[in-house]
């Protein structure tokens, strides 16, 4: 490591760090521990120059300093021109603010207050019977063949269907949203496939705009309705901001949980003893194992900030306008906080990982992610406990700059029997439940679970 002197006389440790490079994925542990050892807060020349916080203490300090670090994405140049949470700002989303994750308080607070009653632990627990039905149907579609792709056939579908249900968007549209939500993350900008992915993204945004107008004209419960009814200083938010927030809910709800689930299932296939233990001791282990998978695989590896005023933080002299990358993924491997950080310990205690972010911008959907992940995992452990993943057919994302995800995870297992109707019939049945019983209402208006009515699915007890 070298140090450099800035024009205004500050001395700062200098590194070369590129989280979008394939090398960062391939040598993640080596690079992470090198930074921890030498400079847990350092300056990289990449992407116009930015700070990189990798140490747990440094990341936590910075994430809690929302009074001096801004998330603002000033897409129209109306304020201070800050670039939001991506470094560099992504070409695909240029000109679109990423919802309340790219806002500062008090505006950001208004959005979170409006959405929290749909996403709290109590609110999300109501959806467990719904999640179980979608998961059952996904496994039923494949269980007689003894072959499944955990990404395509399970982990892409369940988070997508639940997210749409909670938003108040028809469940049958999950494929329209699914393709851009995943392919938009893993497709490199120079790929010949990019044109198709951009078109899919435009179709998704168009459908979100249509949904906004439809729900405004004919209200139906859900997160879309909550955003329409949101008021800031007595005024509704502009449609452009609402679309950004809806895009954020899709982006947060889809690819992240898919990534976590696929990685955990792959690891459990490689560690059959741990898999058997988790299946047998799920009572004491399910929570700690879930948090450990979150820590180790960190689906969303980091977020950017912009320094809003000169200050000294995390051992660095920061200047207004400086950009900082907060690496949740590297903070999660800091040996000062996590003993033996590169090992998965399903019973780990004191696991204060940063996988949902820290501070006021912490993931608002964390309870959704945990619930969906746990239900999918338990169904797999119960119904196809001897599955074996096929490394030849497994495809991880080439880079881990945005999401540490997977595209394919094929597996084989001893075939079994379906327990109920297939996916299409199940989604029809669940859509009726959403429409007739208002499952997507906030916890303040509806306490009961989203449970399919008796007799509608007579095969299940």
């Amino acid at each position: 490591m070298s140090s450099e002197q800035t024009d205004d006389g500050r001395l700062r440790p200098r590194i070369h760090f590129d989280r979008h490079a394939p090398e960062y994925r391939d040598r993640f542990e080596e690079i992470t521990h090198d930074l921890h050892g030498r400079c847990p807060m350092a300056f990289s020349d990449t992407y116009g120059g930015h700070w990189v916080a990798s140490g747990n203490r440094e990341v936590a300090t910075l994430a809690r300093a929302a009074d001096v670090l801004s998330n603002d994405h000033d897409v129209h140049g109306e304020r201070r021109g800050y670039q939001g949470i991506s470094i560099p700002a992504p070409a695909r989303g240029r000109g679109i603010r990423g919802g309340f994750l790219e806002m500062d308080p008090p505006e950001q607070r208004a959005y979170r207050d409006a959405l929290n009653p749909y996403l709290s632990p109590a609110a999300v627990a109501r959806w467990i019977p719904f999640v179980d039905e979608v998961t059952r149907a996904c496994l039923d579609e494949r269980i007689e063949q003894g072959r499944i792709d955990f990404v395509d056939d399970l982990a892409n579908i369940v988070p997508a269907v639940l997210t749409l249900a909670m938003m108040g968007i028809p469940l049958t549209k999950w494929e329209l949203y699914n393709e851009p939500a995943h392919a938009g993350v893993y497709t490199p900008p120079d790929s010949p496939d990019m044109k198709r992915v951009v078109e899919a993204h435009i179709a998704m945004m168009r459908d979100l705009a249509t949904t906004l107008h439809t729900v405004r004209a004919q209200p139906r419960p859900g997160l879309v309705d909550a955003l329409i009814r949101l008021r800031i200083d007595g005024e509704p938010a502009p449609d452009e901001e609402l679309l950004g927030a809806l895009g954020l809910l899709i982006g947060g709800g889809f690819d992240t949980t898919t990534a976590l689930t696929a990685h955990a299932l792959e690891w459990l296939s490689e560690h059959p003893d741990d898999r058997a233990r988790l299946g047998a001791e799920r009572g004491p282990l399910l929570d700690s194992a879930t948090e450990e998978f979150l820590r180790y695989f960190t689906p969303a590896p980091g977020d950017g900030r912009t320094v809003a005023e000169d200050c000294a933080l995390a051992g660095a002299e920061l200047k207004e306008g400086d950009r900082i990358w907060l690496s949740w993924a590297m903070a999660n491997r800091d040996p000062q906080v996590f003993p033996d950080p590169d090992r998965i310990d399903l019973a780990r205690t004191g696991n204060r990982h940063a996988s949902f972010g820290l501070g006021i911008h912490r993931c608002i959907g964390s309870n959704v992610a945990r619930t969906v992940f746990k239900r999918m995992l338990l169904h797999v452990l119960d119904r196809i406990p001897d599955y074996v993943c096929d490394p030849e057919g497994t495809i991880h994302y080439d880079t881990i700059g945005v999401i540490q995800g997977m595209r394919k995870l094929p597996a084989t297992f001893t075939p079994g029997r379906p327990l109920g109707p297939g996916l299409d019939a199940t989604l029809d049945m669940l859509q009726r439940g959403c429409d007739e019983h208002g499952w997507a209402k906030p916890i303040t208006e509806r306490k009961a679970a989203a449970k399919p009515a008796d007799g509608e699915n007579a095969d299940r007890d």
């Binding site: 936590a60 004191g350 204060r352």
Partner: protein
């Protein structure tokens, strides 16, 4: 042992309630935590100490 959750720091990670569900209750509205009672029963003290260690925001303190 007395336990306190700093409401300014708590962001609703819910890990404390996973470790000590009888000691911490979560708001239905936003999932933020508060102790059921200030005094921690003796048989819950180990779990509460683990909750303190688990809190990503360092929002829980015991005296």
């Amino acid at each position: 042992m007395k336990v306190r959750v700093d409401p300014e720091r708590c962001q609703g990670h819910t890990l404390c309630a996973m470790r000590a569900p009888e000691v911490f209750e979560l708001s239905d509205i936003d999932g933020h935590s508060s102790p059921v009672a200030e005094e921690v029963p003796e048989e819950q003290q180990d779990r509460v100490i683990d909750a303190v260690r688990s809190c990503p925001e360092r929002a829980i303190s015991v005296v």
